[in-house]
């Protein structure tokens, strides 16, 4: 059964993705670490810094 932290982590990553702050691929990686409390500062910075970059290159 999903823990409250896992449920919340899923909501948060969905929202961050929707707001364009992280990419969907990063959301999957972030989600479990977010729930487990294992997201360090650098784990936050990189996906937010690089969000949307691939898209821009493709365009």
């Amino acid at each position: 059964m999903e823990t409250p932290a896992q449920t919340l982590a899923s909501k948060i990553t969905d929202r961050l993705t929707k707001e364009g702050l992280i990419d969907a691929s990063a959301a999957k990686v972030l989600q479990s670490k977010l729930a487990e409390g294992k997201l360090r500062a650098e784990d936050w910075q990189l996906p937010i810094e690089t969000a949307g970059q691939k898209k821009a290159v493709t365009l």
């Binding site: 982590a9 909501k11 948060i12 961050l16 729930a35 409390g37 294992k38 650098e42 936050w44």
Partner: protein
């Protein structure tokens, strides 16, 4: 997939079960009420569920027993004798035993999820400290992992803000520095940064090449400086050597003139003889003339003769030394000439090897190859080394300045870039943090609101319309893992503990427990409520029971133990809907038998059994039928507000009740009895008039007293069939009026008839006809 329904629970030697005890569960009934007076073993049944599901026995906790495992087994048994087995309708089972102090469950996968609430714990959550209250519900709202990750994000933003501020400060400091450099340099160019960029781009090679050239020039010049002194010294040495040589030669000449002309050769012969005699100290004859005559003392005489030649010898040595010194002085002087010539050429090489800037002053003349001319040349150019030092220092300073300027520009650019990057990143991180905070708060608030709403909903079922259902659960923002409980009392928000009555608090405690248990996979949860009704006051018990009936359906199974006697009787009389309820009764516990079950048989079923007996007992039939008829008439006369004689104690006889139901009412009374097609499972209603039944009962009612209540000779004249007819009619009435499973029609919500649970009975009319 929900867990399978329960079949039976077997308890072996746990607490009161001195003998193995089995509690069977009725098929398709999710609520089991275990009724028993105090000391019948109700808590042992609850303990067994807790032992199986939670591996503990909570009823012994907080009794000052320390480790309670030693008291878990029945008296006279061992811990290893304990066994609790739950069998389910799908044929599977789960068994728990005690191994040393550990409860071992097999198979673990079948271990049931059990929640137990005991009367002693009912207020635990309400009266707990906010932190303990939080712990109790943390499994629903524990998002500490997300909170830790959120703290990392907050720290990141804090750290990057510091970095941004530092970058801004560095940018400002570098701006000031570059501006200062520009001003010092005379404000060349359009602005400080254009100038600085141009300066930084300038070729550093010129200064880099000029500095070693100056250095080389300085070294070449320095090598020339000492030559005049060295030359003077060498010259002086040469002159001294020549003087000494002349003196030595004069002295030697004088010595030679004072001795024989062949003195030199004689001295040589004597020295050779002394050398010979040193090797042959005792010769027999002279080695020169071979005479032995004067051989005695020859060695001493040779030494004496040689000493007369010592002055000549010394003069000769002095002359040799003076000649050697003269030669060395000549060599040194020549060498100095050559070195000076080479170093002068080196200086000229150094001078001509570089295209000097105009500020580098050179000697007016070339460095002379002749050492004698060097001194005046050096004198003429003696001021130049200081100029060259200054020029080198200026070039070093400029080089350092360009380095500093470059560094300032580089640092400026890096920090402007860092600031720009951070200005782009920080708002995104802050937005992410806001989202995380918002979602977390929303998540916990929503769950707490759901729990609070559920508590309020359940509470309202027991205390309808009392306005006490506005329960709130709030996390204390100032303290971590701290939960406050609030309620509305007389329109004021207040902690319930402050103003609620004991009974209201007990209900609230039960409602909180039910709401929490209902959130945690209720379809898989066995809910055990141990004697919780005892804490509720009488007016609310019935509604509490109704509420429990309703809530129990959510769970896999609900087991309630009670010693509340009215519940037993209300069930017996079908006053409570019991289609969901499996009612069992425990008899008095003994240390020989342990727990034992009694079957509680509803009165209507007892009557049916008595009528079916062979031969039937008229007296028992009439007595049982009379009680049921009184109960039925009591129900109908209250429902239709019939007039009966007012009497102290309110004990009404059949003679009071039957006449109070007048003709109009009797003819209007009818019951729609729901019929179930066993094949199609379709339902339909059959209308049964009660009037004829009541009329017939009025006619034969005397049978009750004649047969059932007293010794009466009149009974001698009556037939047993009259008594049995009375019993049959009462059974017809009760089976028409009430449903053994769904109870009596007490609900008027339809607006046109009274109905029982599931509307298996619809009683018309709603009101007594005028």
């Amino acid at each position: 997939m929900s867990a399978p329904a329960l079949d039976k629970l077997t308890i072996e030697h746990l607490r009161g079960s001195v003998r193995p005890f089995t509690l069977p569960f009725e098929r398709s009934k999710k609520l089991t009420v275990v009724y028993g007076e105090n000391g019948t073993g109700k808590s042992t049944v609850c303990d067994a569920f807790e032992f199986l599901g939670k591996g503990k026995i909570g009823s012994l906790e907080n009794r000052g027993l320390n480790k309670t495992t030693r008291y878990w087994h029945s008296l006279g048994k061992k811990a290893s004798d304990i066994g609790v087995t739950l069998q389910t309708r799908d044929g599977s089972q789960c068994r728990a035993t005690l191994v040393k102090t550990n409860v071992v469950t097999h198979p673990v996968a079948n271990r049931p999820q059990v929640e137990v609430l005991r009367r002693s714990q009912i207020l635990a959550l309400i009266e707990a400290t906010p932190s303990n209250r939080y712990n109790a519900i943390s499994r629903f709202i524990d998002v500490s992992g997300v909170e830790a990750s959120e703290a990392s994000l907050r720290d990141l933003i804090k750290g990057l803000n510091v970095r941004r501020n530092e970058a801004v400060a560095v940018v400002e400091a570098n701006q000031v520095n570059i501006q200062q450099f520009w001003e010092n340099a005379g404000k060349a160019g359009a602005n400080a940064f254009d100038w600085a960029e141009a300066e930084a781009k300038r070729d550093p090679g010129a200064a880099d090449a000029e500095l070693p050239a100056i250095n080389k020039l300085q070294q070449a010049y320095a090598r020339l400086i000492d030559y005049p002194t060295k030359f003077a010294n060498a010259k002086k040495r040469q002159e001294s050597a020549i003087d000494e040589l002349e003196l030595a030669r004069t002295e030697a000449q004088k010595c030679l003139q004072s001795i024989a002309a062949d003195a030199g050769e004689v001295m040589s012969v004597l020295e050779s003889a002394r050398t010979y005699l040193a090797k042959h100290p005792s010769p027999l004859h002279c080695p020169l003339c071979e005479s032995a005559e004067n051989i005695e003392g020859l060695d001493q005489r040779i030494t004496e003769r040689l000493s007369t030649f010592a002055t000549l010898q010394t003069a000769g040595k002095r002359t040799h030394a003076a000649e050697a010194e003269t030669k060395r002085a000549d060599v040194q002087l020549n060498s100095l000439h050559q070195q000076a010539q080479t170093d002068a050429a080196s200086f000229e090489d150094a001078r001509s090897a570089f295209a000097w800037s105009t500020d580098i002053v050179m000697p007016a003349a070339t460095a002379p190859a002749e050492i004698e001319a060097l001194e005046s040349w050096l004198t003429d150019s003696s001021a130049l080394p200081a100029f060259w030092n200054q020029a080198a220092a200026e070039r070093q300073d400029h080089k350092r300045f360009v380095g500093t300027l470059k560094l300032a520009l580089e640092t400026y650019r890096e920090n402007v870039e860092a600031q720009t990057d951070l200005d782009a990143l920080l708002p995104k991180l802050k937005q992410a943090l806001e989202i995380v905070e918002e979602e977390r708060k929303d998540f916990t608030d929503t769950i707490l609101a759901q729990i609070a709403a559920e508590v309020g909903r359940i509470y309202e079922l027991v205390h309808p319309g009392e306005g006490l259902n506005k329960i709130s659960l709030e996390l204390d923002p100032a303290r971590r893992a701290s939960l406050d409980i609030g309620a509305s009392f007389c329109g004021e928000a207040t902690p319930p503990q402050a103003y609620f009555s004991e009974s209201h608090l007990d209900t609230l405690g039960l409602c909180v427990f039910l709401a929490l248990a209902g959130l945690d996979g209720p379809e898989n949860t066995i809910l055990v409520l141990d004697d919780v009704l005892a804490s509720v006051d009488e007016p609310h018990v019935e509604r509490l029971i109704e509420m429990l009936y309703g809530e129990a359906t959510k769970f896999r199974h609900c087991l309630i133990t009670t010693h509340y006697r009215p519940w037993k009787h209300k069930l017996r009389w079908g006053w409570l809907k019991n289609n969901q309820c499996h009612f069992v009764e425990l008899s008095k516990w003994t240390n020989q038998q342990g727990l034992t079950l009694i079957r509680s048989i509803p009165d209507a079923e007892q009557l049916r059994t008595l009528l079916a007996a062979s031969p039937p007992a008229p007296q028992l039939v009439c007595a049982q039928a009379g009680v049921i008829l009184e109960a039925s008439l009591d129900f109908l006369t209250q429902l239709y507000e019939c007039s009966v004689p007012r009497r102290a104690g309110g004990n009404y006889t059949l003679g009071d009740l039957l006449p109070s139901m007048n003709k109009k009412l009797r003819s209007a009374l009818r019951v729609e009895v729901q019929l179930l097609d066993p094949v199609t499972a379709a339902t339909s209603y059959q209308s049964v008039a009660l009037g004829p039944i009541l009329d017939e009962l009025t006619r034969v009612a005397q049978a009750r007293n004649v047969f059932g209540c007293h010794f009466n000779t009149i009974s001698f004249d009556l037939l047993d069939s009259d008594a049995l007819g009375f019993g049959q009619k009462v059974l017809e009435l009760i089976e028409t009026l009430a449903d053994a499973e769904a109870g009596w029609p007490r609900n008027s919500k339809s607006g046109s008839y009274w109905a029982n649970s599931g509307e298996t009975r619809r009683l018309h009319p709603l009101r007594q006809p005028n």
